[in-house]
């Protein structure tokens, strides 16, 4: 059952698929594993599924383009195992995986993590009430099962994704009750220096602006520079309160609230094997330090796609190809200079508007105080006030605060609270978020059952 492949790719989103296609073209036989049942990742989730024209049109041409890449991926003849989780990486690139309840081990010469991004947690008072979701989760429901909320939804946050989702939702027949834009005042001004570079990515920007214009023309209710957002309700979400730029307090009834404060690279895998990471100030997140081919500080371990730093689907495809070319060279087969140059040029073009987007949609920094009664760690139900109280006594950083509060010890492995704790501690200690750092990662990266793990013991001599 153990894999004998020289190359293991984890993730069959844009980056993983592009890498697999390129490696097949170069004559390699990688193994591609992915948690989902079909290729596409989050951005192209369920892209192969046949669906009604109305929904296909609503999801738009950028989504539909994923079907072609998925087709090439399937046709490449790659060994692809869907429904497979990677749950641990040991030094020396020994990778532990599970498929259909059976654990197995791979010991590749090159490992490519194309595990994408996750939404940055957006904690507000009441965000754990039923009826409050993230924009990303709502979009997954739309792509996956074609679910459109029956009632008008409130959307709150900042970033390109809410705008895209609202456009898709309205096109699919859903309704937006209102968009509470939490982007702070002045962000647009701070983005201006990035505009020259961004104009090279003009097509992307124009698309976003056109969506926003169309939404406004359709009568979308928008509030700018919203602060102090609170979700309230007894059993489930009943109302929202917030403050608008003019300082006025508002209260509205609400059944569904979708939150979003940007996306951050998935770093649990690279953190768990002590790859060097850098703090990306513009994105207020960690990303692995990578060479020109996407290789981390750990020999043979590569990262491509949004896991390498948020840059979007076009950049993910280019990074996937570059990582494949780097892996090929490492295993003794050079890709052609023209192919490499092409991938690099594509990556540059795809990244042109990123600085502008990062500045237009800044991540909430440590200066924005999270109210004391806000749940921070959903697994252990700990509030911002409890984390602050612990931080007053325990000055040793996230791992010490985790030990004394249990924050981040639950099944999500700190994915839901890591950056929030980072923000709170940065403020409490008077340090930068970069200096505060992140939780130490305790494997498994994904839950694995005792039985699955025990199966790895079979075949050993009894003690």
């Amino acid at each position: 059952m153990n894999s004998r492949h020289d190359i293991l790719i984890v993730g069959a989103g844009p980056a993983g698929m592009a890498a697999a296609i390129e490696l097949r073209r170069l004559g390699f036989a990688p193994l591609v594993v992915d948690e989902q049942s079909a290729p596409g990742g989050q951005i192209w989730r369920d892209v192969e599924r046949p669906r009604p024209d109305a929904l296909r049109n609503a999801l738009g041409p950028d989504y539909a383009a994923g079907a072609e890449v998925a087709g090439q991926f399937r046709a490449s003849g790659v060994d692809y195992r869907p429904g497979t989780r990677m749950w641990h990486i040991e030094p020396g690139l020994r990778v532990f995986l599970s498929q259909a309840g059976k654990a197995f081990v791979a010991e590749p010469k090159a490992l490519l993590l194309a595990t994408g991004a996750q939404e940055r947690p957006a904690p507000i008072p009441g965000w754990t009430l039923p009826g409050v979701l993230t924009v990303g989760a709502a979009q997954i429901l739309m792509k996956g099962s074609g679910q459109i909320p029956e009632r008008p939804v409130w959307i709150a946050g900042s970033g390109p994704l809410p705008i895209l989702y609202m456009r898709q939702l309205v096109a699919a027949g859903g309704q937006v009750a209102g968009y509470l834009d939490t982007t702070p005042r002045g962000a647009a001004l701070r983005a201006l220096p990035h505009l020259r570079s961004a104009l090279r990515g003009w097509a992307d920007l124009r698309k976003g602006l056109a969506w926003m214009r169309a939404l406004k023309a359709g009568g979308l209710h928008i509030e700018k520079h919203v602060t102090d957002l609170v979700a309230t309700g007894t059993e489930r979400l009943e109302a929202l309160s917030y403050r608008t730029a003019d300082g006025k307090a508002h209260r509205v009834e609400a059944e569904v609230l979708l939150l979003h404060e940007g996306v951050v690279p998935s770093i649990h895998g690279t953190l768990s094997v002590d790859c060097a990471h850098v703090w990306d100030e513009a994105q207020a997140a960690l990303r692995p330090a990578l060479d020109d081919w996407g290789m981390t500080s750990v020999e043979g371990l590569y990262v491509a796609g949004d896991g390498a730093g948020i840059a979007g689907v076009r950049a993910a495809l280019a990074r996937g190809r570059l990582a494949a070319q780097g892996i090929a060279a490492r295993l003794g087969r050079e890709a052609g200079a023209a192919e490499v140059a092409g991938a690099r040029a594509e990556l540059r073009a795809a990244s042109a508007s990123r600085g502008f987007l990062d500045a237009v949609f800044p991540a909430p920094g440590s200066s924005v105080e999270i109210p004391d009664d806000t749940i921070v760690c959903r697994c252990e139900e700990l509030t911002a006030g409890e984390i602050r109280a612990a931080a007053r006594i325990h000055r040793g950083g996230p791992n010490q605060v985790k030990a004394v509060t249990r924050c981040g010890m639950g099944p999500c492995q700190g994915r839901q609270c890591g950056y929030t704790v980072n923000r709170i501690l940065a403020s409490a200690y008077g340090q930068s978020q970069a200096d505060v750092g992140f939780f130490r990662i305790r494997p498994p990266l994904k839950p694995v059952t005792l039985q699955e793990l025990a199966a790895l013991d079979e075949g050993r001599e009894a003690p």
Partner: protein, 374 residues
């Protein structure tokens, strides 16, 4: 320069406990911790409060500790999550049963009544769902387990309330004797103290070597697994004769599995690495013990870095080469239960200059003496 009576190197539970007892006895105490309180073994402990199956040489100290655990809030103002749920060691063959029976009989002859033998029916009553293959157990009904992090928080708070000056992020770089006092250089500055306590855990032998004392010591990185939360299913802490497994349910409802399965460690980098192939044996033993747990998801695994001596007994006693230096480290994976009593004994030793009788098996001199005899 700071001039406490006693300076303690190491902010694990043993350092904190010694600090607490010394400060309560009237000494001025500073404690230096290189990282943060409970960073290594203390924070990674399974927190078993166990007399069951202990080396008889440890029992006098351990029995005293057990009494202290049963009223631990009198000492530190919090119950540390301690529950006397009992500890069991189960066996599956008649040969094992005979060996355990003889061991418990010897204990009783020596006056220790902490363990009893129980038959299969009693065992099944205590652990519903246990695999039929286990035919009996040794049982220590007043043993139990605590919450390691609550224990750390409680000992820390009690020590600070007693006046202990705690310096985290303050490693020691040099240790020298000037007349009747020690000079200690650290990241928190220079200290001068009449006595120094080396409570440096896995790094205890390295601190001893700062004064030229050689203590043979290795390290261990015992691994732990914790599962998702489930409804209450098991009360006692269970281990298996001849296997590396301890199995208990925490007050949060998670199953906590340990038992000394070893990961890898690096003392210089102060890090451990898990070995999932070894953990697989632990998972396998857990599934064998309680087949109902097979489908439970493992949430988190970790290991802590701990000192290990050649005879698996701690080093607690005066330095063999330098006056005014005392050791308390090398607990070899079973030091948690001893925390309250070891701290009291160390405080007594520092105050009187002589180790109490309970500490006699743990003298650092035992290694040099044995070497000479060999």
């Amino acid at each position: 320069m700071t001039t406490p009576d006693v300076l303690i190197i190491g902010g694990g539970l043993h350092g904190l406990s010694a600090a607490l007892h010394l400060a309560r006895g009237g000494a001025t105490v500073s404690l230096l911790e290189r990282r943060f309180v409970g960073r290594h073994a203390s924070g990674a402990s399974a927190a078993g409060v166990r007399t069951l199956g202990r080396n008889p040489l440890e029992l006098p100290l351990s029995m005293g500790a057990m009494q202290m655990w049963h009223s631990i809030s009198d000492l530190v103002g919090d119950d540390c999550g301690f529950v006397a749920q009992g500890q069991l060691r189960v066996y599956e063959t008649d040969t094992q049963a005979d060996r355990e029976l003889a061991r418990v009989a010897a204990l009783r002859a020596a006056g220790h009544e902490n363990e009893v033998m129980i038959d299969q029916q009693t065992l099944r009553g205590l652990v519903p769902g246990i695999n039929d293959k286990f035919i009996g157990a040794c049982y220590a009904p007043t043993d139990g387990a605590a919450d390691p992090h609550r224990t750390l928080v409680a000992f820390r708070a009690a020590a600070q309330q007693a006046g202990v000056q705690l310096h985290e992020g303050s490693g020691v770089s040099a240790l020298s004797r000037d007349g009747s006092r020690w000079t200690i250089d650290s990241e928190a500055g220079r200290f001068s103290a009449a006595s120094v306590i080396n409570a440096s855990g896995a790094w205890g032998a390295r601190v001893a070597s700062l004064v030229g004392e050689e203590i043979p010591m290795a390290a261990k990185a015992s691994m732990m697994m914790v599962t998702e939360r489930i409804e209450a299913m098991i009360r006692p802490v269970v281990s298996i004769v001849g296997r590396s497994l301890s199995f208990k349910q925490s007050s949060q409802g998670t199953l906590v599995l340990g038992g000394g399965i070893q990961g890898r460690y690096d003392l210089d980098r102060e890090e451990t690495t898990l070995d999932f192939r070894a953990l697989a044996a632990g998972a396998s033993a857990a599934c064998e013990l309680m087949p109902a747990v097979r489908g439970l998801r493992i949430n988190r695994c970790w290991s802590g870095l701990e000192g290990k001596t050649p005879d698996l007994l701690p080093v607690i006693g005066p330095s063999t080469v330098a006056a005014g230096l005392y050791h308390v480290f090398g607990f070899s994976g079973h030091g948690f239960q001893l925390v309250p009593a070891a701290g009291a004994a160390v405080a007594e030793m520092v105050a009187t200059g002589r180790p109490p009788a309970t500490l006699s098996p743990f003298s650092a001199a035992r290694f040099t003496t044995r070497d000479v005899a060999a």
